[in-house]
Subunit: 115 residues, 2 copies
DNA sequence: ATCGTTTATCGCCGATGGACGATGACCGAA
DNA sequence: TTCGGTCATCGTCCATCGGCGATAAACGAT
C-alpha cells in the first residue's frame, strides 16, 4: 500500500449532496466505532508503542484479527506504523486523534450555534 | 419491536476484556459514522426540528432509507422523536451530542495523559 | 541451513449495514 | 367516504464487517 488513507476515497458511500467533510469525519469515526479498536488505541497509548503481538496477548483475539484492526486504524490515520526488524511498531497518532475530537466538537458546535 | 437499543446490549460484539465503556462509546460513534447521518444531524439542527419528508427532500435518498437513518439516530439517543399529527418531528438532542463529544475528548485525553 | 517468532494477507463464513420498492397505517382535506 | 400526503415497517438485494485458521514472508538465533 502506498500511504494516505484518503488519497482517493476510502470513505463510505454518501448521498450526492453530502459535504465531503462529512465523509472524512464519518470515515474516521467508523475507525473508532468498534470497542476493540478503542481498547487497542488505549493500550497503544498507555504503552507508548506496541507490536502486534503485545496487543494479541492483551486481548483474546486471533492474531489475524488484531492485525486487521491495526490496519484499519492505520488506514484511518489514527495510528502510525513503522516496521522494526521483524516486529511492527504501532503508535497512536495523538495529533490525528485530537483532530477527530476537534471534528466532533466542531460538529456539535455547528449544531448548537445554529439555534 | 420492543424498545431501547441498550437494554441488554445493542452494542457491537467486543472481546472479553473490553471496558463496557468502550462498547457504549463505540455504539454512539457508530451512529455518527455515516456521512448521511452526519448531514442529517446538521440539517435537523439548522432547522431546529424537521419531519421525515423535509429530510427526504433535502437529500436524494428514498424515504424508507431516511426513515431508517433517523431511527438509528433516535435509537442512539442523538435525536429526539415526537409524533406530531401525521408528521414525525425529529430534533437533535444537543445534550446527547455534547456528551458524545465529551466521550471522544475523554478518550483522547486519556491517551495523552498516559504519556 | 534450519528453526522459532512475528507479522500480513488470503479465503471463508455468518452477521450486519445500507439501499430500495412496496405496503399498510394514519390523518387532514375535500 | 374518498383522496392525497406522510410515515414506519417489511422483505429483498448486495456489499461490507468481523472473526477465524492457514499460509507465506521476513528475520534473528542457533
Amino acid at each position: 500500500m502506498t500511504e494516505s488513507p484518503f488519497e482517493t476515497d476510502g470513505c463510505r458511500p454518501a448521498p450526492r449532496n453530502c459535504a465531503p467533510d462529512s465523509r472524512v469525519v464519518a470515515a474516521r469515526l467508523a475507525a473508532l466505532s468498534h470497542p476493540a479498536r478503542i481498547e487497542i488505541i488505549k493500550h497503544l497509548s498507555a504503552s507508548n508503542s506496541c507490536c502486534c503481538r503485545e496487543v494479541v496477548d492483551r486481548f483474546d483475539l486471533a492474531q489475524s484479527t488484531v492485525s486487521q484492526h491495526l490496519k484499519i486504524l492505520v488506514e484511518a490515520g489514527l495510528v502510525r506504523f513503522e516496521p522494526d526488524r521483524q516486529r511492527s511498531r504501532y503508535a497512536v497518532d495523538h495529533a490525528a486523534l485530537a483532530d477527530v475530537s476537534a471534528s466532533v466538537a466542531a460538529l456539535v458546535n455547528s449544531c448548537c450555534s445554529g439555534r
